[in-house]
């Protein structure tokens, strides 16, 4: 018993030192500034001086003439998933020209980091594993729709003319790994196949440079990073920020402070396909300046902004190209399953506000989901459904707009991220 007390006392001290059990996720990214984050051994990245000050808006952002336009499309996706924004990503063995281009990677501003199904890589294309503790690094990436279990490996990521050198990427369903640990597998449905992912992978180009943040560097948080031994045991472990799965944009040498998603508008009845651009950088080239966009500052820990619609306030709100509809709770529209299906398309409006006190009023439509799904179209600007909490501005919000997503602690002419602008 005496040793148990001493043990417990040690644990209390550990907890006190961390100020919160678990260490908290994602707080204070100003210490994980652009220099070298996630690109262990790669070219020193980002001369942009983010992190030196949260208030300067006039520090010049390094200009670039590196090709920064990545084509993105909405079309037919596995399982007839609608509003699935995808692109092709080139991944290389670091420092070499041994590369593979993987199609049908979902473009997601609601997460951070590149994740690819191991089965989507060409046979014989291998990437080095990353050491962790006495084993190799692996991760349980949890989404609302389920979990993706895989190894953390190092790769060059190339898109347009850009290179993210030797960054940690997530190899989903890596056959070299043991099965997902129980606490990972219990986090929700498995997303380990094309059928369950509805894609070959996910390109997380959201508000943060890495997926977890300082919380995972400080503590072995459950359902994040693990160390897997060759004996087949995986244990929750810490993962330094530099070794966490990295938003590739944050590791580009230039054009690395965020992205612009630029999609054309979609007719009321939808479109079979949509083609647009994922543009790297904010205010780094002529094609990505903010112009008249309103900067809506997001919560620096969670990334949330606040939406007010129909007299209700939703404090858990986010702009998410990886959600395939507007998702919010409302009693104004009839439901067909989880989707809204008013007999005729309804016009609605809302205001989106940031922690900087800036708000922007937006108009949006709620269509009849049953009618939309019965069509053969894949892109819908008015697909909406219910949600228990929050207001997700999914891909329909991106049609007909240029939406800027600024990375936390990175400097832009509109201020320091994280923010959305549109």
């Amino acid at each position: 018993m005496k040793s148990a007390l001493r043990f417990y006392a040690l644990a209390l001290v550990v907890c006190a030192a961390l100020a919160a059990c678990g260490g908290g996720g994602g707080s204070n990214n100003s210490s994980s500034t652009p220099s070298g984050t996630g690109s262990s051994g790669g070219t020193p990245s980002s001369p942009s001086t983010a992190g030196t000050s949260n208030s300067n808006q006039n520090t010049s952002v390094p200009q670039s003439n590196v090709a920064n336009v990545q084509p993105v499309t909405v079309g037919v996706s596995p399982g007839m998933t609608r509003n699935m924004l995808t692109t092709s990503v080139t991944i290389c063995q670091a420092g070499t020209s041994n590369c593979a281009t993987i199609d049908d990677i979902q473009v997601d501003t609601g997460s951070n980091g590149l994740r690819i199904l191991a089965s989507a890589l060409p046979a014989g294309f291998s990437l080095p594993a990353m050491a962790s503790g006495g084993g190799v690094a692996s991760e349980c990436a949890v989404f609302g729709s389920g979990y993706a279990w895989g190894s953390v490996r190092t790769a060059d990521v190339r898109m347009a003319g850009q290179l993210a050198a030797a960054i940690p990427v997530h190899l989903i369903a890596d056959p070299a790994l043991p099965a997902a640990p129980t606490d990972c597998a219990n986090a929700g449905p498995a997303m380990l196949t094309v059928a369950s992912l509805h894609s070959n992978g996910i390109l997380g180009v959201g508000l943060f440079p890495v997926d977890c943040g300082s919380g995972c560097a400080n503590a072995a948080l459950p359902r994040w990073y693990y160390s897997c031994t060759s004996g087949g045991t995986c244990t929750a472990s810490t993962q330094t920020v530099e070794q966490q799965v990295t938003n590739p944009v944050s590791s580009f040498p230039l054009d690395n402070n965020g992205v612009v998603i630029d999609l054309p508008a979609v007719a009321d009845a939808g479109a079979a396909s949509v083609s647009g651009s994922l543009i790297f950088g904010i205010g780094t080239q002529a094609n990505n300046t903010l112009g008249g966009a309103s900067v809506i500052k997001a919560n620096s820990v969670t990334g949330y902004v606040t939406t007010t619609a129909g007299g209700q306030t939703y404090t858990l709100s986010y702009l998410d190209s990886g959600s395939n509809g507007f998702f919010f709770h409302s009693s104004q529209f009839p439901l067909c399953g989880i989707w809204y299906c008013p007999s005729s398309t309804q016009a609605a409006s809302a205001s989106i506000a940031g922690s900087n006190g800036v708000s922007s009023t937006v108009a949006f439509d709620v269509g009849n989901a049953s009618t939309l799904f019965a069509s053969s179209n894949n892109a819908f600007g008015n697909l909406a459904g219910t949600s228990s909490q929050g207001f997700a501005w999914g891909l329909p919000f991106f049609y007909g707009r240029r939406i800027y997503t600024a990375i936390a602690s990175r400097n832009t002419a509109g201020g320091v991220g994280p923010y959305y602008a549109f």
Binding site: A11, V14, C15, C21, Y147, S196, A220, Y304, Y318
Partner: protein, 154 residues
Amino acid sequence: MFKARFYPSASAAALALIACCASTGAYAELGGVMPDQATSGASAPHTVLNGALRVRTMTDAGNTTLNEYATSTGQIIAYTWQGPTMPDLHALLGKYAGSYQAGAAAASTTGNLHASRIARPDVIVESGGPMRGYVGRAWLPAALPAGVTADDLQ
């Protein structure tokens, strides 16, 4: 009283942290019994909705905030969560975990990456949010007291 969780192969530091947080954030599970008093790491229960429900708040090992709801007789019927880490759904669901897993395996999803809803006759789980902003709830639909709806679970 304290439900310690031990991971046999964890390092000492990780074990200390987990044991610490497991003991300070001790909570039961759907269908379990909510303690009357405050426990270490959880607020004292208080009543809401004119006494129809009792709720207490705790922070789990991943620094995620959970609200635990119980009937006036103390039966735990719901959890809501918000935080940087997905909570231990398996632990929260207790004996309903199997039903949830069966539903998850059979679910034809909406194709929405950031949200899911698994509805079984005995348990409903809604999970969503971006990474770092996990939010969700799980409840026993048949156990909601009269006059209480899922919308009351915040």
